[in-house]
Amino acid sequence: MENKQTVLGHIGFSIFAWIVGLLIFFPIFWMVLTSFKTELEAVSMPPAFFDFDWTLENYAEVQARSDYFRFALNSVILSVGSTLVGLLFAVPCAWAMAFNPTKRTKDTLLWMLSTKMMPPVGVLVPIYLVFRDWGLLDTRFGLIMVLFLMNLPIMVWMLYTYFKEIPSDILEAARMDGATLLKEIIFVLLPMAVPGIASTMLLNIILAWNEAFWTLNLTTADAAPLTAFIASYSSPEGLFWAKLSAASTLAVAPILIIGWFSQKQLVRGLTFGAVK
């Protein structure tokens, strides 16, 4: 009896999961589909699913009108750059919190995370002014700094949960073996934490890649990443759904592909510590 119930439960749960998955996936699917339609078909009612004239003209036009690769390069530089700078700070920080905790470590972690709860628009004006005065507007360096600071709490938090799982005995053994602090971190801690660091990096690259608030507000041309590329198709062009879809598809494609190939890492990273 109980077996049958659990089987039914599994089936019900699977159906539910599929529905949720499809709901989440549908807009992306629709965007990709629309990018292959003509502008007319894109807005036709009722919408066509597959029986339309497939065309690549949107992609050709998008590339002709704005240089996709320049934006893409900026996206890569900003996301990878901010992640690498972030690691430089997050690793020592998480090391200290995981292996030399104090009474206030937990509070500090929570406080760091709480900064993520503040709406970024609240600090837009001061940061904009600082950027303007320091000549950081529309520079990659400035953007990397902002993105790195935005994601630092998450990086520290993720690395902390990873490092927590590493027995401190092993680090102490390295200390007894005469390793300096730097060598202990480089030769012992980091190699053991490779999966954790990989998924932390991956998540941060994705977050930085998709970050639209700061990238749109602090760049104009030189440092503008793909988010700006998409945005440039939304307002001035009015309702050119097909071209907007093509631009968006091009923008999310790289990260979607990376995400697809590394989903195992990602899931493990996000649930690490939750299931021992």
């Binding site: 390295a174 200390r175 005469g178 053991m192």
Partner: protein, 335 residues
């Protein structure tokens, strides 16, 4: 050289006084065992010597030099952890070589030393494996190998055998004793195990609540415990303690008699008792008895004893094996 001297070493964690003040002398080449109940501060004391914890106060002298404020690397000691603490991402070779690499030894020297250690510890065939692909005993040997290649002033062991099964534990115990005889290096060894303490130690340090209760040769502690705590802690099964009239007869507050120091008779004796449980092990027999006017006691008889549940027996303690204690638990001279 590895003479270690602790002078008034103190350690507090927050407001908890874990080590209120320990003085201890360990001679070069000595095998010293720390024993004591769980939570008494054995590991903490060892970690203080290692430098993995900072002392709150006091001096730690290694060959006359105070190292209390030096990092572990500068103290020239090796440690073997209960969990082995091998580097999981390195091969056995690299695990053993790591300390030498950190010390900046040349490749050739490292290779020679690692292979030498591997030979002593029977690890030659496993040098290219990762720790994950080794048995518990092999891992423990790698941990020991990692400790010996650095040629330390002293070895520190924190319950190194407690994760091994009984048979392997006996083997490793003999290996470590053999290693000590070969290397003649100072060893400090923390254990819960009576047998390890009695068989391996030149000197046993009995700790309780961060205090040294007694220091001495194993047989000295067995024959002449300084107080009731040591008397009860050293020896297995535990010493029996009798108060009241039995103690008065010996002019003291309490007397202690080890389970193996009774003469058993089925006809007459000092203490009348009933057998509750008889455990026949072949070579010896443990009798858990209920003594009239005393309560439960344990008696150990050699060989097979034809006694079983409900049998009436009489016990007579061996007169020169009776330990006497005052009301504070301090041992009094034997009568």
């Amino acid at each position: 050289m590895g003479a270690i001297r602790l002078e008034n070493v103190k350690k507090t964690f927050g407001t908890i006084d874990v080590i209120p003040g320990v003085d201890l002398d360990i001679n070069d080449g000595e095998f010293v065992v720390f024993v004591g109940p769980s939570g008494c501060g054995k590991s903490t004391l060892l970690r203080l010597i290692a430098g993995l914890e900072d002392v709150t106060d006091g001096k730690i002298l290694i060959d006359g030099i105070d190292v209390a404020n030096e990092p572990p690397a500068k103290r020239g000691l090796s440690m073997v952890f209960q969990s082995y603490a091998l580097y999981p991402h390195m091969t056995v070779y690299n695990n053993i070589a790591f300390g030498l690499k950190m010390a900046g030894e040349s490749k050739a020297v490292i290779k020679e030393k690692v292979q030498n250690a591997a030979k002593i510890l029977n690890l030659t065939d496993y040098l290219e494996r990762r720790p994950g692909a080794l048995s518990g005993g092999q891992r423990q040997r790698v941990a020991i190998g990692r400790a010996i290649v650095r040629n330390p002033a002293a070895f520190l062991f924190d319950e190194p055998l407690s994760n091994l099964d009984a048979a392997l534990r006996v083997n490793m115990r003999l290996e470590i004793t053999g290693l000590h005889q070969d290397l003649k290096t100072t060893m400090i060894y923390v254990t819960h195990d009576q047998v390890e303490a009695m068989t391996m130690a030149d000197k046993i340090v009995v700790l309780q609540a961060g205090r040294v209760e007694q220091v001495g040769k194993p047989m000295d502690l067995y024959s002449n415990p300084a107080n009731k705590f040591v008397a009860g802690f050293i020896g297995s099964p535990k010493m029996n303690f009798l108060g009241g009239d039995y103690a008065k007869k010996h002019n003291c507050y309490e007397i202690g008699i080890r389970p193996e120091h009774f003469t058993i008779s089925t006809e007459s004796g000092d203490i009348a008792a009933t057998v509750k449980i008889a455990e026949h092990l072949g070579a010896e027999t443990y009798l858990h008895i209920n003594a009239d006017g005393v309560g439960p006691m344990t008696v150990r008889a050699t060989g097979e004893v034809p006694l079983s549940e409900h049998d009436k027996i009489w016990l007579t303690p061996e007169p020169d094996r009776i330990h006497r204690f005052d009301a504070q638990g301090t041992a009094l001279a034997k009568q």
